[in-house]
Amino acid sequence: MEGSLLTLAWVAIVGFAVFMYVLMDGFDLGIGILYPFAPSEEARDVMMNSVAPVWDFNETWLILGGAGLFAAFPIAYAVVLPAMYLPLLLMLIALIFRGVAFEFRFKARSSRHLWNKAFFLGSLLATFAQGVVLGSFIQGIEVEGRNFAGTMLDWLTPFSLFCGVALIAGYALLGSTWLIWRTIGILQDWCFRVARRLLIVVLVLVAAVSLWTPFLDASIAGRWFSVPNILLLSPVPLMVGFLAFGLWRALDEGREVLPFAFAMGLFALSYLGLAISLWPVLIPPGITIWQAAAPPETQVFLLIGMAFLIPTILIYTAYSYWVFRGKVTGAIGYH
């Protein structure tokens, strides 16, 4: 029992790290996706500056998610990563180009347009790859013993590609609502318009993914559509409807902070829905969190540190965001 509680704690920690990543790098990747469509080059400066102090930090959650998986569920790490070899390669390359674009763009003159493209394409492809990884994860990974037993192209299915596209729209929505909060003037006006359109697109795509998922696996269908689950779980889709409506109203009323909060809420619900679909499976279709868990001595050793360190991280994260609070106007940097 003690072991089980520990494992639950670790599911919570890894789940939290991945969710933090999705939210935080989500909005700054979204900014990259919207980037080439921005109304002006000055707007692009502002967009980049709105995340320049924090993007690097946001991306650290991705490493935490990976390292947490490796530490607490090593077999999951050893199975999932080889299965995703090529989409992860795409994601890493895209993140490299995007990451250095932050530094290089401001240093460049004649080559600035190239770093603009690197920032856009890097954000777009990294997001797409993450969606593909998510989709192919949901559809299941072939495992034999403690190893991935499929081929290098197992991930490539219509469902996974569709998830890639859906995530692009989702991150773009997060990005546009973040900019509504953090900017003023033409750029903000533009974001209000874009966010509304993106909201519709996201709702359609999320609905499609939600309906598609149960068809992939009978047990997922059973989870959602059996009695009494259908009643117990119905608040999830209902809440999605409520938040979407709230977001729409907030955009209409010209609210500045609420849209971002509602957009984050939509992500949280989608994430929750995914967790409900898969629980307690860690690697679909067959390996549960209990089977994948590292031994208790490893989990305890880590948990002692995490109990102290994760709150500390959250405190100084909050401080760092607070330092850079307020509207971004012009440039803020050392550049």
Binding site: L64, A67, F70, Y77, A78, Y85, L89, T151, F301
Partner: protein
């Protein structure tokens, strides 16, 4: 076509890590250098220190950015290419890497934002604190990653059960037998690397008669550091060598180029080791000196490669040379330290001369030494991934195809060439432009946060460092 996923994965890992290690090698020392400059700015209030700090912070930002993105690649490569390794050692090394992320990476990333962009938004003390915390993060990161790496060389505190490691004693895992030596040797190497870059740039400015005040501070401080660390490093390297002799004798035999081993072993200065013939060609050696260095006795018995089965030997054809490159650079560094003392005593430290040209030429030395040392220690571990327990061949991902690895290897090579080519270009541009000229009077305006607008011409953003077309 027959593509070996194991060999290709090894090449890919060597390629990626060799690139990656160049950045921490530089940024660990640089972060500390910036913290020192910020401290002096805080204490003296002299604009000189602030502009120097801002100058090096720009350099730091570019190097750190490149280090971060190449580091992410490594974390994922453990799983994609070395999934058996991940499963076998995950219980032991996973937590160490996790601790690196939560103690070091987050600290660096959060306070780097404040260090780079927050000067006008936080009080001076907090800005200084941010510099200290970024430096702390880089050192903590080295602590954990070297602990993890050392454990693979000298595994302790864990036992193999059903082909996977389970921890019996965390203290023994983290502070495994080679860790203290490896950490001390590596941190010193990193500080020396940064020291030689700062010294080289400062000497370059003196030769060009530019930024003289900045250059004098940089030259004096970096050379003082080098003079302390260069001899210390040779001492630490010797200790590390003795530790390796105790735990990885085959590695020492390959580094020394000894086939037979035994008492009164000669120190081989030059040779061309030949694996096929199990002998050296064109050997030039000093009798008994190797025994003296390794055992501190003329008659000491040292290992030879023939003491080990052929399948358990690392490759002397590479190790012999990488080791000599590292040691040779150590000797050059010591020479620079001694010349510096002479020049300082003669009062000629700041007058441009051949010594300054030498320092400019020495700028890449630290990087080369670290790469050579890294190759020595890592290739010396072969054919084991966990020394004496798990072979590298059993660590690779079973489902991996040669085609997939070759694709990723080529992609990494192309991308790294573009990215690091551009990065190096921008770094050199920044170095040529040099620090901003700041006068004390410019800074009379209190630097405490007051609104969110940047206000001084100093931080005018968007200044391109590229010449206009």
């Amino acid at each position: 076509m027959d593509l070996d996923p194991l060999l290709l994965s090894r090449i890919q890992f060597a390629f990626v890590i060799s690139f990656h290690i160049l950045f921490p090698s530089f940024t660990v020392g640089l972060a500390c250098w910036i913290a020192v400059l910020e401290a002096r700015w805080l204490i003296t209030g002299k604009a000189l220190y602030r502009s120097l700090s801002e100058f090096w912070t720009r350099i730091f930002a570019i190097s750190f950015g490149m280090g971060v993105v190449s580091g992410i690649v490594m974390t994922y490569q453990f799983g994609t290419n070395w999934s058996r390794w991940s499963d076998i050692v995950g219980n032991v090394l996973g937590p160490l890497i996790q601790y690196e992320v939560v103690t070091a990476f987050f600290l660096e990333a959060a306070f780097l934002g404040i260090l780079l962009f927050g000067r006008d938004r936080v009080p001076r003390g907090i800005h200084f604190l941010a510099a200290v915390l970024v430096a702390t993060g880089t050192v903590l990161s080295s602590f954990w990653i070297l602990s993890a790496n050392s454990w693979m060389h000298t595994p302790a505190g864990a036992e193999l059960r059903d082909g996977r490691f389970f921890v019996t004693d965390w203290w023994a895992v983290v502070f495994n037998p080679s860790f203290p030596y490896r950490l001390a040797h590596m941190l010193t190497a990193m500080f020396l690397t940064t020291g030689f870059v700062v010294a080289g740039i400062s000497a370059f400015y003196l030769l060009r008669n530019r930024f003289l005040d900045h250059a004098r501070v940089g030259l004096s401080m970096s050379l003082a550091l080098i003079t302390v660390l260069a001899p210390l490093q040779i001492f630490l390297g010797d200790l590390h060598g003795l530790n390796t002799l105790e735990h990885q004798p085959a590695k020492i035999a390959a580094m020394e180029g000894h086939w037979e081993g035994g008492a009164r072993a000669p120190l081989i200065l030059f040779a061309i080791p030949d694996n096929e013939a199990e002998t050296n060609h064109a050997e030039i050696a000093i009798p008994a000196l190797s025994s003296l260095i390794l055992t501190h006795e003329w008659d000491g018995v040292v290992p030879g490669l023939k003491n080990f089965p052929v399948t358990d030997r690392p490759n002397p054809e590479i190790l012999f040379w990488t080791f000599r490159i590292m040691v040779g650079i150590g000797m050059i560094m010591l020479t620079v330290a001694l010349i510096h003392l002479v020049q300082r005593v003669r009062g000629r430290l700041y007058s441009p001369n051949w010594f300054h040209k030498l320092l400019v030429g020495c700028m890449p030395l630290g990087f080369i030494a670290i790469l050579a040392g890294w190759f020595t220690t890592e290739i010396g571990r072969q054919p084991w991934v966990v020394y004496g327990m798990i072979r590298t061949a059993d660590a690779v991902t079973p489902a991996l195809t040669g085609g997939a690895v070759l694709t990723s290897l080529i992609v990494f090579m192309v991308v790294y060439t573009i990215i690091y080519g551009a990065g190096t270009y921008y770094l050199f541009r920044l170095l040529t432009i040099g620090p901003a000229r700041l006068n004390d009077e410019d800074l009379e305006v209190p630097a405490v946060a007051q609104g969110h607008q940047p206000k001084r011409p100093l931080s005018v953003p968007g200044e391109s460092i590229e010449p206009a077309e």
